[in-house]
Symmetry: C2
Subunit: 294 residues, 2 copies
């Protein structure tokens, strides 16, 4: 199982990166802008969101090629959000995945614009996807705006900033991470399901699944900040605590956060059992996200 | 004529603003984010881009209601671009249309996010427009990405920043303003033409028209910075010269810039004569843009 999953992740990551870089390459834009966009795209990472799009197609036995444009789009949006999050006026981070952040290399103005460019282009990838119907494209664009915009990730980021100076309740923390993290992961899953023409009832289950997976993803992030290895997570261990950030461990204790993580993963996995198809791959991805070291 | 045009502008401006504010009002997002988005939308201005969308429908004797969502979308994109342009790391402007800029009121982080939110939501307005076909929506989304993204406005802004430290040729200045200004104005016109189901040949002419109108718009801006009244333009007169900015007057002299403006306006108006319909309204809007005092 482990070997198969590793193969799946590795081969899909390659396909996605090929698609991403060839898309940016073709843009008729100033080279320095393309360099700045590429820099953060290349900084890479696990490509979890685009892999989820392809994993849904795989789960419903559909051609994964159909998902490549949407998979690339969600990675553009994720990358834009990292660039803007790292800005001095936001989290003011100098390192991301062990490399200097975008504004450290290209300057703040270019980092703002590289983010703006990545966000804008993501919609073109979907709108011009040759594989899918117009209705599906518009459905997916609507889901993307909902997940990434004021009602999703951007709203979550605002709530996060707002909460920085106070001690949050668990409910307030959940609101932040549902919007800031879970919604875009959820977009990847729902868009994949739309592309795979999953039954309506499955899509409802998958929305619930996304919520639990997204929260689990974030709790694991918080735990890694305490227990992780700096070389693997690409930033200093303990930085949340140093910044007095509201985290699951700070509200629930480390042990409480671990129990919460297990509860969300169990819930996510039990929802997968209700789908109309076997969901081994999603189940394995869920395990991987809950136990990852970076 | 003057009276009719004034009536057209005033009544359409009201409709557009109503549509904009009711859209933001309905978003399920943190109030402070909605306030920040609204603040810059309310700061207003002439609403030239959305009015152009409606003017195209008017020109082709179609219901203007059809254009309201796209008109609102282009104003969201324009407003996002102003918020990000004004940031300390970009133009570092404290005033916009005589009011404190977004980051002066809400802080830099919120200004970045308000801009991100406005840009993202613009695509939802188009994707969920109940009046138009899926094909048209996707056409318009593609045009919007092309006009606003790395190949358009964002690319133009990068070229502008890049040119700040050198003396530009006229060709380099044209590249900047074609991308930074003319493309989004052009989007408004082309989207309006698509919505109005204008003949393919007309759309080709309208692309040429947009180019000349957009450059004329920018030259007028540069001239107003020298000859305008501070109360009307909402910023100090002569600020371009103080900042040693590359402008049409700095390259061509003030007299040369005025001649260039006239040449572009004449060219724009002569293209309108080739359309399959009478274009009195577009002609009048063109005059207005070339002679505006703010």
């Amino acid at each position: 199982m482990k070997m198969e999953l590793d193969d799946f992740l590795k081969s899909r990551k390659e396909k996605i990166e090929e698609s991403l870089f060839s898309y940016i390459e073709k843009l008729k834009a100033p080279e320095v802008l393309k360099d700045a966009m590429n820099y953060s795209l290349e900084a890479g990472g696990k490509r979890i969101r685009p892999i989820l799009v392809l994993a849904l197609l795989h789960t419903y036995s559909k051609q994964e090629e159909i998902g490549l444009a949407t998979a690339s789009a969600v990675e553009l949006v994720h990358t834009y959000s990292l660039i803007h999050d790292d800005l001095p006026c936001m989290d003011d981070d100098d390192l991301r995945r062990g490399k200097p952040t975008n504004h450290k290399v290209f300057g703040e103005a270019m980092a703002v614009l590289a983010g703006d460019g990545l966000l804008t282009q993501s919609f073109s990838l979907i709108a011009n996807d040759p594989h899918i119907s117009s209705e599906k494209k518009l459905n997916i664009i609507t889901e993307l705006v909902h997940a990434a915009g004021a009602e999703g990730m951007v709203g979550g980021q605002v709530a996060d900033m707002d909460g920085e100076t106070k001690v949050l309740s668990l409910e307030e923390l959940q609101y932040i991470h549902e919007h800031k993290t879970a919604k875009l992961l959820g977009f990847a899953i729902i868009a994949g399901a739309i592309l795979a023409e999953a039954p309506v009832q499955d899509i409802k289950y998958l929305r619930e699944f996304s919520y639990h997976l997204g929260i689990a993803f974030q709790i694991r992030d918080d735990i890694l900040d305490i227990e992780g290895e700096q070389d693997l997570i690409g930033k200093p261990v303990g930085s949340d605590q140093g910044n007095e950030k509201n985290t699951y461990p700070s509200i629930l204790t480390l042990q409480g956060a671990k129990e919460k993580l297990t509860a969300h993963v169990d819930e996510a996995k039990s929802i997968l059992n209700k789908l109309s198809v076997p969901a081994t791959l999603l189940n394995n991805l869920c395990e991987l996200i809950a136990n990852r070291n970076n």
